[in-house]
């Protein structure tokens, strides 16, 4: 199963490297949303709760683009039939798609988070970086898991563009709460009291529940 998942993941990464469809679009989108927030809030620099909220809402909206593109190549080129006919477990497909989404999100954040520090954030980003990376990693795992599940659910409907954001964003509310609350003290002018462990705990719980659930139900999606 690991070999099959690895093969699908390699195919997705190579496809992304050659076509450059998802990651550049998601990155560009985050920058655009920062500009929108700058004008919408009419603020030159943000800190604390506002900064955490803007950062996480932007990242989640960018994730929506990645999720709606996740099965795009297979659907448009008909490659999905090949994947489904291959004698491998559906779980391998799920693992590969979630891993691909995770890597896409990480690649976007490598640009989007420093850009946020540069464009909108008041305090320096440097000191809080290790904690921020931990939060980002756990949140990305949750987004990637639920994203792969939602992408597979929406892949066979007639209203894909509609279903993905409507389904993904409410499911992301716990991730948003935990990540924004965990990030907020890190982005404050005066590094305030932290409650990092609790929010990392919530994120871990979310990740564990949805990884197990997705592995259990993924077999029933993308049949025939």
């Amino acid at each position: 199963m690991i070999a099959a998942a690895g093969a699908i993941l390699r195919k997705d990464l190579r496809l992304e490297l050659r076509t450059k469809e998802s990651v550049p679009a998601m990155t560009l989108f985050t920058l655009t949303v920062y500009v929108l927030f700058h004008f919408g809030l009419d603020r030159d620099s943000l800190d604390g709760e506002l900064a955490a909220g803007v950062l996480w809402v932007t990242l989640l909206l960018a994730a929506v683009i990645g999720v709606s593109r996740l099965f795009a190549a297979e659907r448009e080129q008909g490659g999905i039939d090949g994947l489904l006919l291959a004698p491998v477990d559906r779980t391998a497909l799920f693992v590969a798609k979630a891993a691909a989404l995770f890597l896409f999100l990480a690649a976007v954040e490598v640009v989007a988070v420093p850009a946020f520090g540069l464009l909108l954030l008041g305090p320096e980003l440097g000191g809080a970086l290790p904690e921020l990376i931990a939060v980002l990693a756990l949140a990305d795992l949750g987004i990637a898991t639920v994203g792969a599940l939602v992408a597979a659910l929406a892949a066979e409907t007639n209203a894909r563009e509609l279903i993905v954001p409507l389904l993904l964003l409410p499911l992301m509310v716990p991730v948003l709460i935990a990540s924004a609350q965990a990030t907020e003290p890190l982005l404050r002018q005066d590094q305030g009291p932290e409650d990092l462990a609790r929010w990392l705990g919530v994120l871990t719980l979310y990740d564990v529940v949805f990884v197990l659930l997705s592995v259990a139900v993924f077999d029933y999606l993308l049949e025939d």
């Binding site: 599940l149 659910l153 929406a154 066979e156 409907t157 007639n158 209203a159 509609l162 279903i163 409507l166 389904l167 409410p170 499911l171 509310v173 716990p174 709460i177 935990a178 609350q181 409650d195 609790r198 919530v202 719980l205 979310y206 529940v209 949805f210 659930l213 997705s214 139900v217 029933y220 999606l221 049949e223 025939d224």
Partner: protein
Amino acid sequence: MYSKGFRSLALATVVTLATALTLVFFYAPLDADQGFIQKIFYVHVPMAIVALGGFVAGGVMAIRHLRSGDPSWDVRSYVAIHLSIILGVGVLATGAIWAKASWGHWWVWDEPVLVSFLVVFLLYCVYYPLRFSIEDPGRQARYSSVFAIAAGAFVPLNFIAVRLAEAYTHPRVLSQTGGSLPGEMRLTFLVSLLAMTLLFVTLWKLELTAKHAAMQLRRLKRRLAEREVVTT
């Protein structure tokens, strides 16, 4: 097939609902600080509990559908979620009325139960566009079931996260309504909860019977049409 025992169930529902209303208006004491408006509690809270229970029950029925492949479990899950969404509208409306009367605002963001309920409600509303944008019946049933299971697991997670977020800024006692009810209020509340549950089950069976009858009618009509084609 679903109508067995329906008459006695419906009768029990009517009797319990009438008893619950009588208790609410003539037996339960008036609340010391909130007065008469507190009576909405006997509608709002049972409705919310039954709606959430209906969502989770929909998830459990969806698991049974995926396990057995029997499409009737998918219909049961669909009807349970459908009714819970209707109750959900009632929960949000009565919640807003209660909030306006006792706190002066139609909506309060620092009430974790209300906020989590809104998120769950918004998620379940997507059940309809998802279900009805899939044409193939078998796939429709399977995908709806996967949604029902994922959303059912999401309900408790979301409650934990929202409650923690609120406790972070507004420390509050865990249960302000359920824990310390005086005996008369508690009895009234429990009867109201039972009445709401019975109402839910009755409506669920009614809807299932109607769906079943409609399906049979369609099948008979199709057979009739085929026969006409053959004879002419």
